[in-house]
């Protein structure tokens, strides 16, 4: 049942040109950064730097592409997640899902998986693009994998939060704005408290947990953080929809 809901969501993204346009535009941006990265690599590494300070091509290009990707997702996920529930609420189609023999958790999980699968296409395309470097260089697969995993978890967390805020309102635009502000706040919260490394607030920051992945370090604590983040917001969404049924 979960997959049926997810399939419906994916169908809905691709039913209009929206989905294709987003894929194309974002891929264009990533591609441009990738090409620039390759050009710059030759300029920067062409002998002016001492061999000990040189970095590998995967890290050099990966840093710029994944840096851009995490930044772009901050804007695009709220725009994609905003309509998931609020649009259904506004056009009264939520009744359609509620009357079907599906539980609320299945609806929420289905919608979440639908959005994450769409975003996974983007992440996968970035990964494939970087893998093409392997044709003429020996790339650092481990570094690439950690970055892809990190980006994917980050995107999934963004989606979970977007889904929750979308369930709160009947106005998609409001949902997008709240999601964006909340995500932005969570990303930069550690900037304010750089001094205190052990602070709890610091620990809440999404960026704080994304950075190790970006450096090529897969830490189970960070994975657990992202998973907890996702589970928390999905649970909140289920509860919010249940309140609809109870309070009317």
């Amino acid at each position: 049942m979960i997959l049926k809901v997810a399939r419906k969501e994916l169908n809905s993204v691709f039913a209009s040109p929206m989905g294709w346009v987003i894929l194309a535009l974002l891929q264009f941006a990533f591609g441009t950064y990738f090409l620039n990265g390759v050009n710059e690599y030759f300029e920067v590494m062409s002998g002016a730097i001492r061999p000990a300070e040189r970095t590998g091509v995967t890290m050099f290009i990966g840093q710029s592409v994944f840096g851009l990707a995490s930044f772009v997702m901050l804007f695009s996920v709220p725009l994609l997640s905003m309509r998931l529930i609020s649009e259904e609420r506004r056009s009264n189609t939520l009744t359609f899902l509620f009357s079907a023999p599906i539980s609320l958790s299945e609806i929420v999980l289905g919608k979440f998986i639908g959005l994450v699968s769409f975003l996974s296409i983007l992440v996968a395309m970035i990964a494939v693009m970087l893998c093409t470097l392997n044709v003429w260089a020996d790339i650092d697969i481990g570094y690439l994998f950690s970055n892809v995993l990190g980006l994917w978890l980050l995107v999934a967390s963004f989606s979970a939060m977007g889904l929750y805020f979308s369930s709160l309102t009947a106005q998609p635009v409001v949902a997008a704005i709240i999601t964006f502000i909340a995500l932005f706040g969570l990303l930069i919260v550690d900037r304010f408290l750089t001094g205190d490394e052990a602070s709890v607030i610091n620990y809440l920051s999404l960026m704080h947990h994304f950075q190790p992945f970006a450096r090529g370090l897969i830490d189970t604590a960070d994975i657990a953080y992202f998973l907890l983040f996702i589970v928390t917001f999905l649970t909140l969404t289920v509860r919010r929809l249940d309140a609809d049924r109870l309070r009317g």
Binding site: A15, S16, L246
Partner: protein, 310 residues
């Protein structure tokens, strides 16, 4: 043997202390069509939402074919097809795509989806619209798509909230025929404002007012209430009332402002033929004779406003 498809007992729904629906109980058997009547805001839609599991009742329970809606919502919902007040349509899809999604979500197995979609389209007269975007359909066709999604999985109980709103007269006739047809194998509950519609297609009628059930019974009872043992007669040279009262079976005579006479007769007798003969033989100038029916509207008004009058 009758199979109970819907059992609602003591359904109550509070909105902030105010009872939108209070203590509504009824049952429906297989093959029956139940009409749900009531003025605006009487609680028709709220009751339907509770029946379909879209709203949790504050008190009471709903059983669909013996399955409790609160304890086993999935099983119970699988037996229901529901068309809410505003048809729930994903406008970005075509009719075919949308109906396929509806079938899939209602648990129609993958190999039967195509047949189910085809059948639903035929029943609702949508075959020509298969490839059209729902967004571009007219209100009437959107309504039909709404009905199609409610019957696509061949549910035991079909619940339609004002199904004929926004349809043209021909479409209304088609939809009524469809509802009657559905009534053969399923149970149908529909709400409407249009009283003749209820008379035409429903076996049972419920009238709800201010959240309370004020009438619950077969349509025949309501129809009987209409025929109040009265005749309307038009005479060019009317005799005195006493002369009319002298005829067998006539209980009272009342002159109406439009020149007609209303004659109330004893139940079981039909003095029309005799009246006509007498009128001809005595030269009263009979030009009209009709059974005087209270319109269904009057019955409805009587039932819903009896508290006010009392």
């Amino acid at each position: 043997m009758t199979i109970l498809t819907v059992e609602a007992s003591n359904l109550t729904r509070l909105y902030g202390g105010r009872e939108a629906v209070s203590d509504v109980s009824f049952t429906l058997s297989k093959g029956e069509v139940l009409g749900f009547l009531g003025p605006n805001g009487a609680g028709k839609s709220t009751t339907m939402k509770m029946l379909t599991g879209n709203l949790a009742p504050s008190n009471g329970s709903v059983k669909i074919c013996g399955v409790d809606m609160i304890e086993n919502p999935k099983e119970a919902k699988a037996l229901i097809g529901y068309l809410p007040e505003t048809p729930p349509l994903y406008r970005e899809f075509t009719v075919d795509e949308f109906l396929a999604i509806a079938a899939r979500l209602h648990g129609v197995s993958a190999k039967h989806i195509r047949a189910a979609v085809q059948r639903a389209k035929e029943r609702c007269g949508l075959t020509e619209m298969s490839k059209r975007l729902i967004e571009n359909l007219s209100k009437g066709y959107q309504q039909r798509v709404g009905i199609a999604q409610a019957i696509i999985h061949n549910p035991m109980v079909v619940i339609l909230d004002e199904p004929t709103v926004g349809l043209d007269p021909i479409q209304i006739r088609d939809i009524r025929a469809l509802i009657k047809e559905l009534g053969g194998e399923h149970s149908v509950i529909l709400s409407t404002h249009i009283l003749p519609e209820v008379e035409m297609i429903c076996d049972h009628v419920q009238i709800i007012d201010k959240g309370k059930l004020v009438f619950n019974g077969s349509i025949d009872v309501l129809k009987k209430q209409r025929h109040g043992n009265k005749l309307l007669i038009g005479l060019n040279n009317p005799p005195s009332h006493d002369e009319l009262l002298g005829l067998a079976g006539v209980e009272s005579v009342e002159a109406l402002p439009n020149g007609l006479l209303r004659v109330r007769y004893t139940a079981g007798q039909m003095p029309a033929e005799m009246l006509a003969q007498v009128a001809v033989s005595k030269g009263w100038g009979l030009h009209q004779i009709n059974p005087d029916q209270t319109s269904l509207e009057d019955v409805f008004v009587q039932l819903t406003y009896q508290d006010v009058a009392a």
